[in-house]
């Protein structure tokens, strides 16, 4: 399996992530792109901030890639996540997964984003007009 995992404080390149996942053995590349939406629960978001415990975030994303390889015939996995200030519409995360056939690519890509949201130490602060909130902090 080819792995490419990164945290970046500058804008992510979707094209780069796809190129890094490409392989002559691949019959499918599934790509997930997480973007910044303009509102949450009716409140207008002005921008958001991602903070990461960087060495552990990289280690946890690496664990996700290894767990994917244990369950599906992964040819390559690319996970690039942003940190810092993001505007509405900016790309927060790109996951690209290449496999021989499409079913595994879809399943493994969904597993990757679902697990990332549960385990990778990255925190999102949504900033509204007149306030800010750390997402998922409270029940």
């Amino acid at each position: 399996m080819k792995k490419n995992i990164a945290l970046s404080s500058s804008p992510l390149s979707i094209e780069t992530c796809i190129r890094l996942a490409e392989s002559e053995q691949a019959g499918a590349i599934d790509v997930f792109i997480g973007t910044v939406r303009d509102q949450t629960e009716g409140r207008k978001v002005t921008h958001l901030e991602f903070e990461a415990y960087e060495p552990m975030a990289i280690a946890e994303m690496d664990k996700i890639a290894e767990a994917m390889a244990a369950r599906w015939p992964i040819i390559s996995v690319v996970i690039h996540h942003r940190t810092g200030f993001l505007k509405i519409g900016d790309v927060a995360v790109v996951i690209a997964v290449a496999t021989p056939h499409r079913k595994a690519a879809f399943e493994a890509c969904q597993y990757a984003i679902d697990t990332l949201k549960q385990t990778v130490p990255i925190w999102k602060k949504e900033v509204f007009e007149g306030g800010a909130v750390w997402i998922a902090a409270h029940p």
Partner: protein, 80 residues
């Protein structure tokens, strides 16, 4: 022993600082540290949950803390 605890996200807001130097008994566990934090900063009780990482790995509540460990409070994550 003295342990330097590093905080991220809402944990940083609760502590009012990026780091906290605590004095705990030498045989302290992760659970002991969590109790210390909840007693001194009750806002930790209001979180959905929080974990402690030792040396960039999630630690079990019964894991022992060494003075040389990198100790980090991990509040509920929200990447992606």
């Amino acid at each position: 022993m003295q342990v330097r605890v590093v905080a991220f996200g809402i944990a940083k807001d609760i502590l009012g600082a990026n780091t906290l130097l605590v004095s705990i008994s030498p045989e302290s566990t992760v659970s002991d540290l969590k109790n210390f934090l909840c007693e001194n900063y009750p806002a930790f009780n209001k979180l959905r949950s929080f974990s402690i990482a030792l040396n960039t790995t999630y630690a079990d509540d019964n894991a022992a803390i060494q003075a040389t460990d990198e100790v980090v409070i991990i509040p509920p994550v929200s990447g992606g």
